[in-house]
Structure formats: C-alpha cells, structure tokens
Amino acid sequence: MDAPLIVRGLRRCSTRRFLAWMLPWAALLGVGLLAIGLCLVKGLNQTNMDNRFAFGLWIFLDLAVIALGAGAFFTGFLLYILRRHELSAVINSAVVIGFLCYSGAIGVLMVDVGQPLRAWFTFWHPNVHSMLTEVTFCITCYLTVLAFEYLPIVLKNRQLRRIPSFLVFEFELHKVMPVLAGVGTFLSFFHQGSLGGLYGVLRGRPFAFRDGFAIWPSTFFLFILSAIAVGPSFVLLTTWLVGKISGRTLVRPGVFQLLARISGWLLAVYVAAKCVDTLLWLNRTVPRTGAAPYQFYAWEPFGTWVLFVEIVAFGLAPALVFLSRRLRARTGWLVGAATLACAGVVTNRFVMTIQTLTVPTLPFEPYMLYWPSWQEVATFLAVVAYAVIVYSLSFRYLALFPQERELQQG
C-alpha cells in the first residue's frame, strides 16, 4: 500500500505487519499523552516528586537520553571534521537518534517545569552564572541544528525528491553539513558539560559537588567524556538492534569494529579520569565541605556497590572488551559490551540526579526514597514510544543506512 514511499531497492515488511509493530507503541504514546495532559492541567501534584525530591525520573531521563544522543554530534564530528568516511554508513541513523533524544528531552522538560509558558523567561532574563541557562541555550540551539541535519534525510524520500525545489534545498543543505556538524559539535560539547556542571556546582550538596578547573567542576569534563565515549556504543547498539528487528544487514562489520574501537579508547580514558576524580572527591572535596564520605554510602540500597558497578562493571569491562580485537570480533561480546557501556552512562546520570537527592545534608534529616507516579512513568514511556515510532517511520521511508541496498544485493 505504501510501496511508492519506500526507498527504491530496499525491502521492507508489509504495511499490515508494520502497522501491527506500530500499534502498541502508539497505545503507549496515547497513555503517555494522557499523563502529560494531567500534569499540565492539574499540575505537578500528579507526580510523586516533593520538596526534598525536587527532581525525579524525568530529569534522570533527560540527562540519560542526552548522553546517549551524543552519538549524533560525535559521529558527525568524526565524519565531517576528522574525515572518518566509514561512518557515513551510520550518520543518518545517528542524526535521527540524536534528534529524537534531544526533542524527547525538551518535551519532557516542558512538562517537568511548573510554569511551562514561562520557558522563554530564561532567554529574556538569563542568569549567566547558571549552568541551567547554558544548558537551555545550547540544547535549543543544538536541536535546531539537528532539525537541519534531519531535513535532508527526509527530503531524500522517494516522493519528496520529485519536487525540484526540495531537491535543490537538500543539495544546498548537504553543502553546509560540515559547518552544521562543527556548530553541533561545539554546542554539544558545551551542553553535555553544562549538564555535568548542573550538579557539580551544587556546593550545598557535597555528594554532587566537585572541584574543577576555572568555573567548571570536574563533572563538566566527565560528562563530555562519558557522552562521547558512549555515543558510538549507542549508535552501534541501535544499528544492531534495528538490523535484528528488521532482519536486514545494515552496515559492514568494519563499521561496528570502528565504533567499538572509538568507544573503547574513550571509555578507557573516561574510567581512568573517573577514578582519579572519585579519589580526589572522597579525600579532598568532601572533607572540606564538612561532610563524611562514608555517609554517602551508609544507606542501602545505595551502597558502595553502585560506585563499583558504575566504574568497573559498566565502564572498565566494556572498555576492555572493545579494546580486545578477538572479543570485539564476536557479535555477542560486541553487543554485550555496548549494552554495558550504555548502562554505565545511564547509571552515572542516575547517581548524579537521584542518589544526590537521597542523601540528606542536615544531620537531623533522614535519607529519603522516591518512587515515581504512574503519570511520571507513562510520560517517560511516551518518550520511548515517540522515539520508536518516529525512528520506525524514518527507517521505513528514508534511507538511514546507505550501505543497506548494496549489502542486500550482495
């Protein structure tokens, strides 16, 4: 039924099967939109956040998806600036994923703030000392860049290409792509760092507070490093997953190997930096604030095991797998390591957003837990559903993997 829309030469499942795949995601999106509506109309009393847990699941989601979405800018940087042409095989998919991650995060942020209609105030009355101002400016600018990077992929659709002006526009956009990649890289580096700085500057929260360089706490740099280390892993993982679900070979194995190697080296550097930072934080920064480091881990479920899992199991282990030529040649190890690496960055963002708030600062206040309400979970899942739906449509009707047709014929 929709055959004229599908890229020439590519095989896609039947429309009926495609609709059957989309239906549960659409239902999930529908429930999520209901939850979002409740939060916007009735207020944030629909959530389980409170005055102590002022941030919850949504901020965690924002930080996690933005870190995972770093694959977009970093792949663009490697391809257009460092000229790693092998990555042209995944750049379109990476751009779509980046766009979905960032637009999803901004969408959730609009629900998360108490007065969404005042979002423009940040641009009108900006506090230049606030990391959140930097994040707001960079994320909105970068989402615009991503939209411009996504546009030529959409305009390449078989039917849209028939319109001459679209064809010309797409051609012109391609010419400025290296510029967009450069701008995107600059903006992304900054806001990935600012997201880390968001917590690192909280001197009133010794669990999150870090020393740093000039105005930037160490988390500024660690967030950049972890995001660019895991971005390629997420591109690898999603490409493999899409290939599995669709039953197609999308890229040559060499592309996976390259992504794994890049991720491996960066992850190794990140783990080393994270270890040094953790030691400095525990032995120098925390005592200076008057807090006792052991108290951060005195309360289960957030014991020292979280630190171990984050650094060793989800950091060092995947790095070693990626750096071993023998292990990364095996798909199981490769995909397993990419999953661990992604879990690592997600754990790190969880620790910074949620664990920070569980630890009380006043000695007569207790440790606290927080469980999200169904509205929060449904909103979270709506972002996942939105991403799956838009990605599925893009995969079906746009050329996300340039090598696919060639590999299919081969």
């Binding site: 009393n45 409170d50 108490g114 009355h125 009133g204 010794p206 807090a291 007569f364």
Partner: protein
C-alpha cells in the same frame, strides 16, 4: 546579583534552641502572615508549604534520650547563596538593603533547581493551586501576594513588614527604620522568646551580640554559605548538629 556591593544591613536571627519547646507557633504565624495556603488533603509531610519548619532531633544527653527542636527556615546565606547562582532566570534575588534572599514568584519557571541546590531544604514548591476554605480568604494579609501553582517560595524574613517599617520611617521623615518596627512574624509569635531578630552588622543589636556568643553556631557552617540564621545552645551535642558529618541513623523517611 549578589556580590556586587555589600548589603547596607545584614538582617538575621538567632534562635535559642534551649528555649524552643517545639510548639509550632512560629510555623503558624509564618503561614498566616505570608498567606501560605492550608495543606491539601492529599498533601504529605514532603509536599506542604512550611517556610518555617520545626525539626526534632534526639540522641544527646547522658543516656542519649535528650531531644531538641530546631526551627529551620531559609538561612539567607550571606556568601554565594547556592540558590541565587543556579536560578536560570534571575528569579532569586538578594536585597542590597537588607541582605535578605528572596524569591520572585512572578519570574519563577518552577524548574526547582534552587530546591536541589539548597542544603537546608528550605525552599518549597507550590504543587497545587493555592486554595483557602470558603470565607477564610477575608483573613488573607493584603500586603503579601498569593503565589500561584508551579512556582517556588520560601521565607523572606517577612519582607512586607520591612516595607511597612520603611513606609512608617518615611512618613516620619526618617531615612532609617526603627528596628522595633521590623520584626518577622515568627519572632513575634514565639511564646518563649527563643528567636531574636536584627541587623547582624549593628554591633549594638541583641541579635548581633548573641550571634557572637561562644554557644552560637550555624547550620553546615563549613559549606561556606555564611548563613544569617544563627542558633545557640548550652548543650554541646546540640551544637554538633550544625555539622554535616554527625553520624545519623540510616533510615528511610
């Protein structure tokens, strides 16, 4: 922004914890003075609006059974207040005349970053639309604006009373306010006179004198936020409660 010029005055308070019996009169007076709406039936201990909140701590004394009540409001940090620098749209302000840290609800986006930044957990979010039982709206303080849903609020040392004191001074042709005319509601309501308020830079004020006493201390002093709320107690274990590294019982609230 803070830090540009030193405040003309540095209003603060000293709370004598040995006098506080936890009656909560300060909390009630604060809520009435500042038009803080009553809690919704679905609100809980963690979602209510309590600009002044009395905590109870135990564990001191010879048998460890001694208890103390600790009223905690915004501490009006005097040095790089954590909430001021983080607000993305300058909705937190330090009054250059009083040193009071105040929230501008009309500009607040409700991002709650300031709440995460505050080490004293002294900032509160309006999770609901403000509502009063029918008929009680007439008792609202006309000098204080009611805050809407979705914004953050907190203690401002009864800013409306400071304005009233200024107006009174101006009417009398004076430039400076009479300290007796500016007394926050919590100070006025305390039956044990446990709270003393005044300009900490005015060496002659009782608050400044008490703040310099050896038994005075501040909460989380080592964070370097220079709070303008001081506490005092003759009991050493109580004074130790101002320090973050005091061993606490690991329990979930």
């Amino acid at each position: 922004m803070e830090g540009k010029a030193p405040a003309k005055a540095r209003f603060g308070m000293v709370i004598d914890l040995d006098r506080c019996d936890g009656c909560g009169a300060c909390m009630v007076a604060c809520a009435v003075e500042n038009n803080v709406p009553p809690a919704r039936p679905s609100a809980n201990d963690r979602t209510g609006l309590t600009w002044m909140r009395v905590h109870r701590a135990t564990g001191g004394g010879p048998q460890g059974g001694d208890a103390v009540f600790i009223p905690v409001s915004c501490q009006h940090c005097g040095h790089h207040a954590p909430c001021v620098s983080v607000c993305p749209q300058n909705a937190v302000d330090v009054n250059p005349e009083t040193g009071v840290v105040s929230q501008i609800p009309e500009r607040c986006l409700g991002c709650r970053y300031c709440m995460a930044a505050c080490p004293y957990h002294a900032r509160y979010f309006n999770w609901w639309d403000p509502a009063w039982p029918a008929g009680t709206e007439a008792a609202l303080n006309p000098e204080v604006s009611v805050r809407m849903r979705g914004v953050v609020e907190k203690c401002n040392f009864c800013h409306a009373r400071w304005h009233a004191a200024k107006a009174k001074a101006a009417a009398a042709g004076k430039r400076e306010i009479d300290p007796a005319d500016y007394v926050p509601a919590c100070v006025e309501a305390c039956p044990n006179q446990a709270i003393v308020f005044g300009d900490l830079d005015d060496a002659s004020s009782p608050a400044a004198r008490l703040a310099r006493e050896p038994h005075a201390f501040r909460l989380l002093d080592r964070l370097g936020t220079e709070p303008k709320v001081f506490y005092r107690s003759e009991r050493e274990w109580v004074r130790r409660l101002g320090e973050a590294d005091v061993a606490r019982e690991a329990k979930e609230a």
